[in-house]
Amino acid sequence: MKRHKTSLADFRPRIERIERRLFLKQSLSLGALTMLSGCTLKDDDAVDRLLFAMSRFNDAAQAALFNPTKLAPIYAEADLTTPFPFNAYYDEAFAPVIDGDAYRLQLSGLIERKRPWPLRELRALPQVSQITRLVCVEGWSAIGKWGGVPFRIFLERIGADTSARYVGFRCADNYSTSIDMPSALHPQTLLALDFPGRPGETKYGFPVKVRIPTKLGFKNPKFVTEIFVTNDNPGGYWEDKGYNWFSGS
């Protein structure tokens, strides 16, 4: 297993891409449009435009359907899926192994207190744990137990502008995703520090994963190294390839 220390250099390609996107303004639409082209109906841009417009309509429909107080069903220890499936855009062997002592969670965007957070300080915040079902966009599901800081408490602690529209995540495995603020503030959304699997296993996202039981699995980033708050939809790894952005459960 390779050691993975995060530094700004790791994010340079990503930052450049984001700058390019901000320049383009219609970033998400362009990115997703490009991806849908040639992947759905061959050379039929009108169809791709329709599918893309419907995906944005479905974002709005899902946001309207989202009830901020509706809780995801809770399961018992006996229901846990073991072993919990590993899933990422790469094989399990390539999952980053991060040094917990050197780790710092970076903050940026519309946040008052951007001081990076070491793991032990995250551990000092109030901790909860819950057993919920993770539903993958591929159709399968698995029940796992995650523990950590209620994300709303963390957002309040760092002085995040919770009137902003989006929370974005960047990860040590070059993954990224973003969610709407109402989902970020949902009572079950967790800054997870404890994961399914045996103690010491790091493949499920150590040291920090964001667990959102009201979202499909790919909206639950592992190995999170940076959290940012913004009013411009940051898209994400799969979202930019054409998957529906809201992807709520």
Binding site: L36, L51, F66, V135, E138, N244, G248
Partner: protein, 204 residues
């Protein structure tokens, strides 16, 4: 009837439009659904990729979540029309199991009467089952799309994993109906013509 131009309308325009929109929606939902199924097969087989719609999982999902509106809104219009105009009562009732069985035997031995707009008992049962399968597909689809927001519906379906299977079998039932429906429509061109022009051709 000797002159098809003067023949009475057996399939009203509204029904013909709803029928063909439904055909497009059901085929789009089925073929994109097959691609989605292939991403995580439930039953040890995959659908031939060449028959599916969407090219890859994200494309198939985009198709599926577009066509679902067409399917659901069209079905709603059909149900409202059928209930409000008495169309369901006139076309689908009465429905006695004995009649259905007798007419089903006639279908099998090729002696069934297919008069456009006047359904035999086997047809009445088949069309009602097709509508029921679409409703089951929509409800189980909602249950697996929104297992948190619509968790009561998901629970009613037996939970997320059971709802996936209900969704699969609703598709399978609808697809079997589609095969029989297309085969019988091609064997009874009169009913096919009536579903396009609304008029019944003279019977030989």
């Amino acid at each position: 009837m000797s002159d098809s131009a003067r023949a009475p309308t057996v399939q009203p325009l509204f029904l013909r439009i709803v029928h063909w929109i439904n055909a497009v929606a059901v085929i789009a939902m089925t073929l994109s659904g097959w691609r989605i199924y292939n991403a995580s097969p439930l039953y040890g087989f995959e659908f031939p990729a060449g028959l599916t719609l969407g090219g890859w999982l994200a494309g198939a999902l985009a198709w599926h979540f577009t066509a679902m509106w067409l399917l659901a809104i069209n079905l709603l219009a059909y149900l409202l029309y059928g209930l409000a105009t008495g169309h369901f009562r006139r076309r689908f009732l009465p429905l006695w199991p004995r009649e259905v069985l007798a007419d089903l035997c006639d279908v099998v031995i090729g002696r069934a009467i297919h008069a456009p707009g006047r359904y035999n008992a086997a047809q009445r049962a088949a069309y009602l089952l097709a509508v029921a399968a679409i409703i089951a597909a929509i409800l189980s689809g909602l249950a697996i799309w929104k297992p948190v927001q619509l968790q009561e519906l998901t629970a009613l379906m037996g939970g997320f994993e059971t709802a996936r299977r209900v969704h699969f079998f609703a598709m399978a039932a609808l697809f079997l109906f589609l095969l029989a429906h297309v085969a019988l429509a091609l064997a009874n061109k009169n009913s096919l013509v009536a579903m396009v022009t609304g008029k019944s051709e003279p019977t030989p």
